[in-house]
Protein backbone atom coordinates (compact mmCIF):
# COMPACT_ATOMS: atom_id res chain seq x y z
CA UNK A 1 0.00 0.00 0.00
CA UNK A 2 1.11 3.52 -0.82
CA UNK A 3 -0.28 6.60 0.94
CA UNK A 4 -1.49 9.22 -1.49
CA UNK A 5 -3.18 12.58 -1.12
CA UNK A 6 -5.18 13.68 -4.11
CA UNK A 7 -7.30 16.81 -4.19
CA UNK A 8 -10.54 15.66 -5.76
CA UNK A 9 -13.10 18.30 -6.72
CA UNK A 10 -11.44 20.70 -4.31
CA UNK A 11 -11.26 18.43 -1.26
CA UNK A 12 -8.01 16.68 -0.24
CA UNK A 13 -8.45 12.90 -0.10
CA UNK A 14 -5.89 10.89 1.81
CA UNK A 15 -5.95 7.19 1.09
CA UNK A 16 -3.92 4.02 0.87
CA UNK A 17 -3.83 2.43 -2.58
CA UNK A 18 -2.07 -0.49 -4.18
CA UNK A 19 0.37 0.82 -6.82
CA UNK A 20 -1.55 -1.06 -9.51
CA UNK A 21 -4.82 0.75 -8.71
CA UNK A 22 -6.00 2.78 -11.69
CA UNK A 23 -7.11 6.34 -11.04
CA UNK A 24 -10.58 5.42 -12.29
CA UNK A 25 -10.77 2.51 -9.83
CA UNK A 26 -9.68 4.82 -7.01
CA UNK A 27 -12.35 7.37 -7.95
CA UNK A 28 -15.16 4.88 -8.47
CA UNK A 29 -14.46 2.20 -5.90
CA UNK A 30 -12.69 4.02 -3.07
CA UNK A 31 -14.25 7.47 -3.31
CA UNK A 32 -17.56 6.21 -4.76
CA UNK A 33 -17.51 8.86 -7.45
CA UNK A 34 -19.19 6.72 -10.07
CA UNK A 35 -19.85 9.50 -12.57
CA UNK A 36 -16.53 8.69 -14.24
CA UNK A 37 -17.25 5.69 -16.48
CA UNK A 38 -15.23 2.83 -17.92
CA UNK A 39 -16.27 2.06 -21.47
CA UNK A 40 -13.36 0.08 -22.87
CA UNK A 41 -10.22 -1.86 -22.14
CA UNK A 42 -8.09 -0.24 -24.81
CA UNK A 43 -7.67 3.40 -23.70
CA UNK A 44 -9.74 4.59 -26.64
CA UNK A 45 -13.29 5.52 -25.59
CA UNK A 46 -12.67 8.47 -23.24
CA UNK A 47 -15.67 7.67 -20.98
CA UNK A 48 -13.20 7.85 -18.08
CA UNK A 49 -11.95 11.37 -18.88
CA UNK A 50 -11.15 13.54 -15.85
CA UNK A 51 -8.92 16.58 -15.40
CA UNK A 52 -5.57 16.49 -13.67
CA UNK A 53 -4.45 20.06 -12.98
CA UNK A 54 -6.95 21.26 -15.58
CA UNK A 55 -5.79 18.92 -18.36
CA UNK A 56 -7.98 16.13 -19.71
CA UNK A 57 -6.63 12.61 -19.16
CA UNK A 58 -7.98 9.08 -19.32
CA UNK A 59 -8.40 7.91 -15.73
CA UNK A 60 -8.28 4.28 -16.95
CA UNK A 61 -4.78 4.90 -18.28
CA UNK A 62 -3.41 6.68 -15.22
CA UNK A 63 -2.34 5.06 -11.97
CA UNK A 64 -3.81 6.49 -8.78
CA UNK A 65 -0.25 6.91 -7.46
CA UNK A 66 0.50 9.14 -10.47
CA UNK A 67 -2.20 11.52 -9.22
CA UNK A 68 -0.56 11.86 -5.81
CA UNK A 69 -0.29 15.54 -4.90
CA UNK A 70 -2.33 16.61 -7.94
CA UNK A 71 -5.69 18.31 -8.45
CA UNK A 72 -8.29 16.01 -9.98
CA UNK A 73 -11.67 17.20 -11.24
CA UNK A 74 -14.38 14.68 -12.08
CA UNK A 75 -17.85 15.21 -13.54
CA UNK A 76 -19.17 15.44 -9.97
CA UNK A 77 -17.10 18.60 -9.51
CA UNK A 78 -18.51 20.45 -12.50
CA UNK A 79 -21.99 21.61 -11.44
CA UNK A 80 -22.47 24.35 -8.83
CA UNK A 81 -22.76 23.29 -5.17
CA UNK A 82 -26.53 23.88 -5.24
CA UNK A 83 -26.87 21.49 -8.19
CA UNK A 84 -27.24 24.12 -10.90
CA UNK A 85 -25.79 22.57 -14.04
CA UNK A 86 -22.60 23.99 -15.51
CA UNK A 87 -23.36 25.79 -18.81
CA UNK A 88 -21.68 22.92 -20.70
CA UNK A 89 -23.88 20.35 -18.94
CA UNK A 90 -26.95 22.49 -19.59
CA UNK A 91 -26.01 22.69 -23.27
CA UNK A 92 -25.77 18.90 -23.54
CA UNK A 93 -29.27 18.68 -22.10
CA UNK A 94 -30.66 21.38 -24.35
CA UNK A 95 -29.03 20.32 -27.64
CA UNK A 96 -29.50 16.55 -27.45
CA UNK A 97 -25.85 15.87 -26.65
CA UNK A 98 -26.76 12.49 -25.23
CA UNK A 99 -28.99 9.49 -25.61
CA UNK A 100 -27.99 6.70 -23.21
CA UNK A 101 -25.61 9.06 -21.40
CA UNK A 102 -22.78 6.59 -20.93
CA UNK A 103 -20.21 8.67 -22.80
CA UNK A 104 -21.51 11.98 -21.45
CA UNK A 105 -19.32 12.51 -18.36
CA UNK A 106 -16.22 11.99 -20.49
CA UNK A 107 -17.60 14.15 -23.30
CA UNK A 108 -18.32 17.02 -20.89
CA UNK A 109 -14.86 16.79 -19.32
CA UNK A 110 -13.21 16.77 -22.76
CA UNK A 111 -15.44 19.64 -23.89
CA UNK A 112 -14.50 21.78 -20.89
CA UNK A 113 -10.79 21.15 -21.55
CA UNK A 114 -11.04 21.90 -25.25
CA UNK A 115 -12.82 25.21 -24.63
CA UNK A 116 -10.02 26.29 -22.29
CA UNK A 117 -7.28 25.09 -24.68
CA UNK A 118 -8.74 27.14 -27.53
CA UNK A 119 -9.61 30.38 -25.70
CA UNK A 120 -7.14 32.35 -27.82
CA UNK A 121 -8.82 31.57 -31.15
CA UNK A 122 -12.29 31.16 -32.60
CA UNK A 123 -13.57 27.68 -31.80
CA UNK A 124 -14.55 26.12 -35.12
CA UNK A 125 -16.60 23.02 -35.81
CA UNK A 126 -13.46 21.32 -37.18
CA UNK A 127 -11.56 22.01 -33.97
CA UNK A 128 -14.42 20.69 -31.84
CA UNK A 129 -14.58 17.49 -33.89
CA UNK A 130 -10.79 17.00 -33.93
CA UNK A 131 -10.46 17.56 -30.20
CA UNK A 132 -13.21 15.09 -29.39
CA UNK A 133 -11.08 12.44 -31.12
CA UNK A 134 -10.48 10.70 -27.81
CA UNK A 135 -14.18 10.30 -26.93
CA UNK A 136 -16.44 7.73 -28.54
CA UNK A 137 -20.23 7.79 -28.52
CA UNK A 138 -22.21 4.76 -29.65
CA UNK A 139 -25.59 6.49 -29.74
CA UNK A 140 -25.83 10.03 -30.96
CA UNK A 141 -23.89 10.14 -34.22
CA UNK A 142 -22.03 13.11 -32.71
CA UNK A 143 -24.06 15.91 -34.36
CA UNK A 144 -25.87 16.75 -31.13
CA UNK A 145 -22.63 16.55 -29.17
CA UNK A 146 -20.86 18.99 -31.50
CA UNK A 147 -23.82 21.40 -31.28
CA UNK A 148 -23.85 21.05 -27.49
CA UNK A 149 -20.14 21.77 -27.17
CA UNK A 150 -20.47 24.83 -29.40
CA UNK A 151 -23.42 26.14 -27.37
CA UNK A 152 -21.70 25.34 -24.07
CA UNK A 153 -18.53 27.09 -25.22
CA UNK A 154 -20.53 30.17 -26.20
CA UNK A 155 -22.18 30.19 -22.78
CA UNK A 156 -18.69 30.01 -21.26
CA UNK A 157 -17.74 33.19 -23.12
CA UNK A 158 -15.72 31.59 -25.91
CA UNK A 159 -15.81 32.85 -29.49
CA UNK A 160 -17.41 30.10 -31.54
CA UNK A 161 -17.58 29.74 -35.33
CA UNK A 162 -20.51 28.49 -37.35
CA UNK A 163 -21.67 24.98 -36.47
CA UNK A 164 -24.05 23.14 -38.82
Amino acid sequence: MVEITVTVNGAPQKAGVEPRTLLVEFLREQLRLTGTHVGCDTSQCGACTVHINGRSVKACTTLAVQADGQNVTTIEGVAAKDGTLHPMQAAFKEYHGLQCGFCTPGMVMSALALVERNRAATLTEDVIRAELEGNLCRCTGYQGIVRSVAAGAKAMGATVGKVE
Binding site: V2, L63, V65, Q66, R117, G134
Partner: protein, 264 residues
Amino acid sequence: MYAFDYNHPKTTAEAEAAFKAGDDASFIAGGQTLIPTLKQRLRQPSHVIDLSGIADLKGITVANSMVTIGAGTCHADVAASADVRKAIPALAHLAAHIGDPQVRNRGTLGGSIANNDPAADYPAALVGLGATVHTSSRQITAEDFFTGMFETALNPGELVVRVAFPVPKRAAYQKFPNPASRYAVVGVMVAETAQGIRVAVTGAGPSVFRVPAMEAALAQNFSASAISGVQIPADDLNSDLHATSEYRAHLVGVIAQRVVASIA
Protein backbone atom coordinates in the same frame (compact mmCIF):
# COMPACT_ATOMS: atom_id res chain seq x y z
CA MET B 1 -2.91 -6.07 -13.73
CA TYR B 2 -0.29 -7.90 -11.69
CA ALA B 3 1.00 -6.26 -8.52
CA PHE B 4 4.25 -4.29 -8.51
CA ASP B 5 6.24 -2.00 -6.24
CA TYR B 6 6.28 1.70 -7.06
CA ASN B 7 9.15 4.20 -6.86
CA HIS B 8 9.04 7.92 -7.50
CA PRO B 9 12.66 9.10 -7.82
CA LYS B 10 13.66 12.77 -8.09
CA THR B 11 16.84 12.38 -10.17
CA THR B 12 18.05 10.23 -13.07
CA ALA B 13 20.70 8.71 -10.76
CA GLU B 14 18.01 7.65 -8.28
CA ALA B 15 15.93 6.23 -11.14
CA GLU B 16 18.86 4.18 -12.42
CA ALA B 17 19.63 2.92 -8.91
CA ALA B 18 15.99 1.95 -8.39
CA PHE B 19 16.04 0.10 -11.71
CA LYS B 20 19.09 -1.92 -10.66
CA ALA B 21 17.52 -2.71 -7.28
CA GLY B 22 14.46 -4.33 -8.86
CA ASP B 23 14.86 -7.74 -10.50
CA ASP B 24 12.58 -6.81 -13.41
CA ALA B 25 11.85 -3.11 -13.17
CA SER B 26 10.20 -0.86 -15.72
CA PHE B 27 10.20 2.91 -16.06
CA ILE B 28 6.89 4.69 -16.50
CA ALA B 29 6.57 8.13 -18.09
CA GLY B 30 3.10 9.00 -19.41
CA GLY B 31 1.92 5.41 -19.08
CA GLN B 32 -0.05 5.60 -22.35
CA THR B 33 1.69 2.49 -23.63
CA LEU B 34 2.83 0.82 -20.43
CA ILE B 35 -0.51 0.91 -18.58
CA PRO B 36 -2.51 -0.69 -21.42
CA THR B 37 0.24 -3.35 -21.59
CA LEU B 38 0.00 -3.97 -17.85
CA LYS B 39 -3.80 -4.10 -18.01
CA GLN B 40 -3.57 -6.86 -20.59
CA ARG B 41 -1.06 -8.69 -18.38
CA LEU B 42 1.46 -8.68 -21.20
CA ARG B 43 4.12 -7.53 -18.75
CA GLN B 44 4.76 -8.22 -15.10
CA PRO B 45 7.40 -5.81 -13.80
CA SER B 46 8.58 -6.20 -10.20
CA HIS B 47 8.96 -2.43 -9.85
CA VAL B 48 7.48 0.50 -11.74
CA ILE B 49 9.70 3.56 -11.55
CA ASP B 50 7.85 6.81 -12.21
CA LEU B 51 9.98 9.34 -14.11
CA SER B 52 7.51 12.23 -13.80
CA GLY B 53 9.24 13.81 -10.79
CA ILE B 54 12.64 14.18 -12.48
CA ALA B 55 13.24 17.83 -13.38
CA ASP B 56 16.12 16.96 -15.78
CA LEU B 57 13.69 15.23 -18.14
CA LYS B 58 11.45 18.27 -18.54
CA GLY B 59 11.47 21.26 -20.80
CA ILE B 60 12.09 22.61 -24.28
CA THR B 61 15.00 24.85 -25.27
CA VAL B 62 15.90 26.37 -28.62
CA ALA B 63 19.48 27.58 -29.10
CA ASN B 64 22.12 27.50 -31.84
CA SER B 65 19.74 26.07 -34.45
CA MET B 66 18.94 23.16 -32.17
CA VAL B 67 15.59 22.30 -30.54
CA THR B 68 16.20 20.23 -27.43
CA ILE B 69 13.26 18.49 -25.81
CA GLY B 70 13.32 16.68 -22.47
CA ALA B 71 12.26 13.03 -22.60
CA GLY B 72 9.47 13.68 -20.11
CA THR B 73 7.83 16.42 -22.18
CA CYS B 74 4.31 15.43 -23.17
CA HIS B 75 3.11 15.59 -26.77
CA ALA B 76 0.64 18.41 -25.97
CA ASP B 77 3.46 20.62 -24.68
CA VAL B 78 5.56 20.03 -27.80
CA ALA B 79 2.52 20.77 -29.99
CA ALA B 80 1.71 23.98 -28.11
CA SER B 81 5.26 25.29 -27.72
CA ALA B 82 5.66 28.63 -29.48
CA ASP B 83 9.41 27.92 -29.76
CA VAL B 84 8.93 24.56 -31.48
CA ARG B 85 6.21 25.94 -33.75
CA LYS B 86 8.56 28.68 -34.87
CA ALA B 87 11.77 26.62 -35.22
CA ILE B 88 10.40 23.30 -36.54
CA PRO B 89 6.68 23.63 -37.33
CA ALA B 90 6.70 20.08 -38.75
CA LEU B 91 7.65 18.71 -35.33
CA ALA B 92 4.85 20.63 -33.56
CA HIS B 93 2.42 19.40 -36.24
CA LEU B 94 3.54 15.80 -35.73
CA ALA B 95 3.11 16.03 -31.94
CA ALA B 96 -0.32 17.65 -32.39
CA HIS B 97 -1.54 14.63 -34.35
CA ILE B 98 -0.49 11.85 -32.00
CA GLY B 99 -3.54 9.98 -30.69
CA ASP B 100 -6.06 12.30 -29.06
CA PRO B 101 -5.89 15.21 -26.57
CA GLN B 102 -5.99 12.96 -23.49
CA VAL B 103 -3.14 10.79 -24.83
CA ARG B 104 -1.15 13.92 -25.76
CA ASN B 105 -1.60 15.34 -22.26
CA ARG B 106 0.24 12.37 -20.75
CA GLY B 107 2.27 10.53 -23.40
CA THR B 108 5.89 11.66 -23.68
CA LEU B 109 8.65 11.89 -26.26
CA GLY B 110 10.92 9.60 -24.22
CA GLY B 111 8.24 6.97 -23.77
CA SER B 112 7.35 7.02 -27.43
CA ILE B 113 10.88 6.50 -28.71
CA ALA B 114 11.89 4.02 -25.99
CA ASN B 115 8.89 1.92 -26.97
CA ASN B 116 9.57 2.25 -30.75
CA ASP B 117 6.16 1.08 -31.86
CA PRO B 118 6.40 0.51 -35.63
CA ALA B 119 3.38 2.83 -36.07
CA ALA B 120 4.59 5.63 -33.77
CA ASP B 121 5.07 9.11 -35.20
CA TYR B 122 8.16 10.43 -33.39
CA PRO B 123 10.66 7.96 -34.92
CA ALA B 124 10.01 9.59 -38.32
CA ALA B 125 10.85 13.00 -36.85
CA LEU B 126 14.05 11.82 -35.19
CA VAL B 127 15.38 10.03 -38.28
CA GLY B 128 13.99 12.58 -40.74
CA LEU B 129 15.54 15.54 -38.95
CA GLY B 130 18.77 13.72 -38.03
CA ALA B 131 18.25 14.09 -34.28
CA THR B 132 20.52 12.86 -31.50
CA VAL B 133 19.23 10.97 -28.45
CA HIS B 134 20.96 11.91 -25.20
CA THR B 135 20.69 9.07 -22.69
CA SER B 136 21.81 8.84 -19.09
CA SER B 137 25.19 7.55 -20.30
CA ARG B 138 25.80 8.52 -23.97
CA GLN B 139 24.61 10.13 -27.19
CA ILE B 140 23.09 8.02 -29.97
CA THR B 141 22.18 9.17 -33.48
CA ALA B 142 18.53 8.53 -34.35
CA GLU B 143 19.40 5.96 -36.99
CA ASP B 144 21.46 3.94 -34.52
CA PHE B 145 18.80 4.34 -31.82
CA PHE B 146 15.91 2.57 -33.58
CA THR B 147 17.12 -1.00 -34.15
CA GLY B 148 13.95 -2.96 -34.95
CA MET B 149 10.29 -3.55 -34.13
CA PHE B 150 9.83 -2.40 -30.51
CA GLU B 151 13.66 -2.51 -30.25
CA THR B 152 16.10 0.30 -29.50
CA ALA B 153 19.80 0.66 -28.71
CA LEU B 154 18.94 1.40 -25.04
CA ASN B 155 20.51 -0.94 -22.51
CA PRO B 156 18.36 -2.17 -19.61
CA GLY B 157 18.03 0.68 -17.13
CA GLU B 158 19.40 3.31 -19.52
CA LEU B 159 17.24 6.43 -19.62
CA VAL B 160 16.40 8.70 -22.49
CA VAL B 161 17.10 12.15 -21.04
CA ARG B 162 16.49 14.43 -24.01
CA VAL B 163 16.48 14.59 -27.78
CA ALA B 164 18.26 17.29 -29.81
CA PHE B 165 16.70 18.14 -33.18
CA PRO B 166 18.76 20.28 -35.60
CA VAL B 167 16.55 22.97 -37.15
CA PRO B 168 16.08 22.06 -40.85
CA LYS B 169 15.85 24.50 -43.77
CA ARG B 170 12.39 23.10 -44.41
CA ALA B 171 10.51 20.01 -43.31
CA ALA B 172 7.03 18.53 -43.24
CA TYR B 173 5.31 15.45 -41.88
CA GLN B 174 2.05 13.79 -42.84
CA LYS B 175 0.53 10.48 -41.94
CA PHE B 176 -2.28 8.25 -43.06
CA PRO B 177 -3.77 7.67 -39.63
CA ASN B 178 -5.48 4.54 -38.49
CA PRO B 179 -9.03 5.89 -38.14
CA ALA B 180 -9.52 4.35 -34.69
CA SER B 181 -6.21 4.87 -32.89
CA ARG B 182 -4.62 7.64 -35.02
CA TYR B 183 -1.35 5.66 -35.09
CA ALA B 184 0.40 5.94 -38.46
CA VAL B 185 -0.53 3.32 -41.05
CA VAL B 186 2.17 5.19 -42.95
CA GLY B 187 3.84 8.45 -41.92
CA VAL B 188 6.52 10.32 -43.86
CA MET B 189 8.86 13.10 -42.77
CA VAL B 190 10.75 14.94 -45.49
CA ALA B 191 13.42 17.43 -44.45
CA GLU B 192 16.04 19.53 -46.11
CA THR B 193 18.83 19.61 -43.54
CA ALA B 194 22.42 20.82 -43.46
CA GLN B 195 23.40 17.22 -44.32
CA GLY B 196 21.07 17.10 -47.31
CA ILE B 197 17.58 15.81 -48.00
CA ARG B 198 16.21 13.15 -45.68
CA VAL B 199 13.07 11.05 -46.15
CA ALA B 200 12.02 8.96 -43.15
CA VAL B 201 9.08 6.55 -43.14
CA THR B 202 7.25 5.19 -40.10
CA GLY B 203 4.30 2.81 -39.89
CA ALA B 204 5.18 0.94 -43.08
CA GLY B 205 8.00 -1.32 -41.90
CA PRO B 206 9.05 -3.07 -38.69
CA SER B 207 10.87 0.14 -37.70
CA VAL B 208 11.45 3.60 -39.17
CA PHE B 209 13.56 3.67 -42.35
CA ARG B 210 14.99 6.14 -44.89
CA VAL B 211 14.34 6.05 -48.63
CA PRO B 212 17.67 6.81 -50.35
CA ALA B 213 16.15 6.73 -53.85
CA MET B 214 13.72 9.52 -52.94
CA GLU B 215 16.44 11.50 -51.19
CA ALA B 216 18.66 11.36 -54.29
CA ALA B 217 15.80 12.35 -56.60
CA LEU B 218 14.77 15.25 -54.36
CA ALA B 219 18.36 16.49 -54.16
CA GLN B 220 18.24 16.90 -57.95
CA ASN B 221 14.76 18.34 -58.13
CA PHE B 222 12.72 19.11 -55.02
CA SER B 223 9.26 18.40 -56.39
CA ALA B 224 6.57 15.76 -55.98
CA SER B 225 6.98 14.66 -59.60
CA ALA B 226 10.67 13.88 -59.00
CA ILE B 227 9.70 10.97 -56.70
CA SER B 228 6.52 9.82 -58.40
CA GLY B 229 8.40 6.99 -60.13
CA VAL B 230 10.21 5.67 -57.04
CA GLN B 231 8.97 2.15 -56.31
CA ILE B 232 8.96 0.96 -52.70
CA PRO B 233 9.40 -2.82 -52.48
CA ALA B 234 6.60 -4.34 -50.38
CA ASP B 235 8.56 -7.44 -49.33
CA ASP B 236 9.73 -6.26 -45.90
CA LEU B 237 6.75 -4.07 -45.04
CA ASN B 238 4.08 -4.75 -42.43
CA SER B 239 0.85 -6.52 -43.29
CA ASP B 240 -2.00 -6.54 -40.79
CA LEU B 241 -5.75 -6.12 -40.59
CA HIS B 242 -5.38 -2.39 -41.26
CA ALA B 243 -3.38 -2.62 -44.51
CA THR B 244 -1.46 -5.09 -46.64
CA SER B 245 2.25 -4.55 -47.32
CA GLU B 246 1.46 -3.70 -50.96
CA TYR B 247 -1.01 -1.03 -49.84
CA ARG B 248 1.52 0.40 -47.41
CA ALA B 249 4.21 0.45 -50.13
CA HIS B 250 1.85 2.42 -52.36
CA LEU B 251 0.91 4.79 -49.52
CA VAL B 252 4.58 5.63 -48.86
CA GLY B 253 4.80 7.05 -52.38
CA VAL B 254 1.50 8.92 -52.16
CA ILE B 255 2.19 10.45 -48.74
CA ALA B 256 5.79 11.33 -49.61
CA GLN B 257 4.60 13.22 -52.70
CA ARG B 258 2.00 15.10 -50.66
CA VAL B 259 4.61 16.04 -48.08
CA VAL B 260 7.05 17.30 -50.72
CA ALA B 261 4.29 19.24 -52.48
CA SER B 262 3.43 20.97 -49.20
CA ILE B 263 6.93 22.49 -48.88
CA ALA B 264 8.25 22.56 -52.47
